[in-house]
Subunit: 211 residues, 2 copies
């Protein structure tokens, strides 16, 4: 397997899409698939698919195609899904609650360890089996537990300040829903942001282009 | 201005990021900026920035830099933000409610026309000035109003069926939060999906790579 740092950002961004497609094929009982068929289902060329997978070594066999379960397993490992990363949620508002209730952390190999909220009226309430804890306890929780990922779903105005505190407490990465740009400074903390506006504006671009 | 269909997908995906950065600069009172400074703030090279903007014509002046307001206006137009697209929300659960309350539709040039929900206990409730309407009325609403974009934030299991109904009613594009893959068939409907798992798995990849 080649060194992963040689892999282009575009390939990395496609890997989760491959994973979702392979999950779908698996649920449908498909055991193997050709690069041509996989490409046609995903809007990619067979050669692009072969090229993407070749970054990580050889998964397929000429004339046979890819074994769905084996390929899924390889991609899952590359994505770190076998690491059992510990996740906490900072901010149990509507987005946070929706993630607790709907996001299948365990399916992707993550462990949701806890959820924290600053608003006292939400502390102690339970959502899908998770009891919301007081934000005042999150610092100690992070120091006592191995927290790989903190989900930041709080008010945008306090995003950087809370991120700084999380990084200082030892959080290794932040999944940022606040729409603020988080600066990790020289901490090395991995920041991944979901900017809803970026997605809607891309849609708006394509809609405008069609007119 | 070159034909927009020549613009690569990567450039299109960067445009909303430029817009956010220019908004930030504008709020901070910055009136002009060099490609070097813009690049350093965004983690891009000056030549990449010049190349991105050259796809749409010339915005900057040699030795002077870019005028923030003018550049912001040009990018906004390219993204269709001057079209005043009409948006409806299908599904007023936690994600839907969060969008109504927190997403600044008007800042990006969109008009939120209405919100629809199948659960009767939510119908008639008000969120940030928006009264939730009965999903049974959405078909007529779409036929009587010019709905450019439907936000789909319902249960994944019904996503394709509801999408088919929306497309049949005349919706031109769907902003999909359901984590289901929506097939527009041959309708030409623009589908843009936010898959939360894709983002978390990219984070997981980078975290794993660091180890």
């Amino acid at each position: 397997m080649k060194k992963s740092s040689n892999i282009s950002k575009n390939v990395i961004r496609r890997l989760p899409r491959y994973l979702r497609k392979l999950d779908e094929l698996s649920r449908a009982g498909v055991e193997r698939i050709s690069s041509g068929e996989l490409g046609s289902q995903m809007g990619l060329t067979p050669s692009q698919i072969r090229q993407d997978f070749s970054c990580f070594g050889e998964f397929g066999q000429q004339g046979y195609g890819y074994r769905v379960a084996a390929l899924r397993g390889q991609i899952a490992r590359i994505l770190g899904m076998d690491r059992s990363y510990g996740v906490i949620l900072i901010g149990a508002g509507r987005i946070g609650q929706s993630l607790i209730e709907n996001f299948d952390f365990s399916h992707y190999g993550f462990r949701l360890l806890g959820a924290f909220e600053i608003r006292k009226e939400l502390v102690g309430t339970e959502i899908a089996g998770v009891t919301i804890a007081d934000a005042e306890t999150q610092r100690d929780f992070i120091r006592e537990n191995n927290v790989d990922i903190a989900i930041l779903s709080i008010n945008k105005d306090h995003a950087q300040q809370v991120a700084d505190e999380l990084i200082d407490s030892g959080v290794k990465s932040i999944w940022n829903f606040t729409d603020a740009e988080i600066d990790p400074g020289d901490s090395g903390c991995v920041i991944e942001s979901i900017h809803f506006s970026d997605s809607l504006l891309a849609l708006s671009y394509y809609l405008t282009e069609k007119d």
